[in-house]
């Protein structure tokens, strides 16, 4: 088939774009993954010895959270593992400084992981604040939060209500004083998102009459609610 020749897989295109320079000089990423592999890598089966699964997972979780209009389930285990790992590496540096260059690589990577973690946590806090009225009354959404976030939404809502009451609501007629979901924001789950398919999904229905076939590495622009389930089962990632 002609289409076989036209189609270039992502791997092929990366290979053909490599200049000779790139081929001999490893990127900082490659160096880092290699340098940190004894501490970062928990997959030793030789398949991808230089990649720490947790960091990759965090990157996905972070981008997913940034792009999804609604709050996603909290990655409890992942955050815990990575926080512990950071503490471990920092403790390690205290006792054995090692080669200055290696230390610098460690520290750079540590800064990058910290960045991912804090951006992930802050993105979630922003949603929690934005939809505080709605989420705090929704068991479903509360169950997606960490213990810290549950406490946070409760206190934030209280702080917000106190402020509004003191500044204006108290001066309005009594029947107008309430704050509830109707006086707040609700996430729009029909917002369009861009997603990449991680594994073959097959046919899914996008409207009442239309279906599309989702195959690995395909990229789609779709309403969030159409891919919400697939996202939670890691069959797609958002971009």
């Amino acid at each position: 088939m002609a289409s076989d020749n036209v189609f270039v897989s992502p791997e092929d295109s990366v290979m053909t774009n490599l200049s000779p320079m790139d081929a001999v000089e490893p990127t900082v990423d490659e160096l880092l993954d290699g340098a940190l592999s004894p501490y970062l890598s928990d997959d030793q089966d030789g398949d991808s010895p230089f990649v720490n699964e947790d960091v990759t997972k965090l990157k996905h979780a972070w981008v997913n959270e940034k792009q999804a209009p609604d709050l996603l389930p909290y990655e409890t285990q992942l955050v815990e593992d990575l926080t512990e790992m950071l503490q471990f590496i920092e403790a390690l540096q205290g006792e054995d400084a090692g080669q200055p260059f290696t230390v610098m690589l460690y520290q750079t990577e540590v800064e990058r992981i910290k960045y991912l973690l804090r951006s992930y946590l802050r993105t979630r806090l922003q949603k929690v604040e934005r939809y505080a009225m709605f989420y705090s009354g929704s068991e479903e959404h509360l169950s997606r939060m960490s213990a810290g976030e549950q406490q946070y939404i409760h206190q934030y809502r209280g702080l917000f209500e106190t402020h509004m009451t003191r500044t204006c609501l108290d001066k309005l007629p009594e029947s107008l004083r309430a704050l509830d979901e109707t006086t707040g924001n609700i996430p729009w789950n029909d917002t369009a998102v861009v997603c990449r398919v991680q594994q073959d999904v097959g046919e899914i229905s996008v409207t009442e009459t239309e279906t599309v076939e989702m195959r690995r590495d395909n990229i789609f622009l779709m309403p969030y609610q159409t891919v919400e389930k697939l996202l939670q089962s890691d069959q797609v990632v958002l971009l």
Partner: protein
């Protein structure tokens, strides 16, 4: 006309998006007062259509007025909340990027807003506690270089670094770890030059 004061406040809110002006207490007060007045009118109208009083009125016309008044009251509330909400958004983003209220800004804020800011700071610090190593307040720009070159724009005195301390005097230049000084750059005390 009904809704004019709310419109004024909405326009002020729109301007606030680009530029924070002093908290407009008098406009807020005026709008609240008008809303209470609307409710008084609503009650008076309801009295009119009370069949027990046996007065003949055009009930449909009164019902239309009731609907118009009620819509205005709800509109007023939305505009009030939107105005205060936008200012809170401003305060929150100030907290995350600068960490404190700059002195020159204080006169623009109501006492309640300054209260909100300090309570919000407590709230966030409680949440942050388990993540003490990550520094949730740090820059939203992804890290690139571990060390950066900075010039001091305003005297900062001696600051604590991860290891040791450093005296920052105006116009001096330093090669420092980015994570040690990020907050000073956000506050406009240091300039990142390379």
């Amino acid at each position: 006309m009904l809704g004019d004061t709310a419109y004024k406040l909405a326009q002020e809110t729109k301007r606030t998006q680009a530029h924070l002006t002093a908290y407009n207490e008098s406009l807020v007060e005026q709008l609240c007062r008008e809303t209470r007045h609307i409710f008084a009118q609503l009650e008076a109208l309801l009295q009119k259509v009370n069949p027990a009083l046996g007065r003949s009125v055009d009930t449909r016309a009164v019902a239309a007025q009731l609907a118009a008044l009620h819509a205005t009251a709800k509109r007023n509330k939305r505009c009030l909340l939107a105005y205060h909400h936008l200012r809170l958004q401003f305060l929150k983003s100030l907290f995350w990027s600068v960490g404190k209220i700059p002195d020159e800004l204080k006169p623009q804020l109501s006492p309640q807003e300054q209260d909100f800011f300090s309570h919000y700071a407590v709230l966030v610090s409680q949440y942050k506690h388990p993540f003490v190593d990550i520094d949730l307040n740090a820059s939203e720009l992804p890290p690139r270089d571990l060390f950066i070159e900075v010039r001091v724009l305003k005297d900062c005195g001696e600051i604590q670094l991860e290891k040791g301390s450093l005296l920052l005097t105006r116009n001096s230049q330093h090669h420092v770890k980015r994570s040690d000084v990020e907050h000073l750059i956000s506050q406009g005390l240091l300039q990142h030059i390379g």
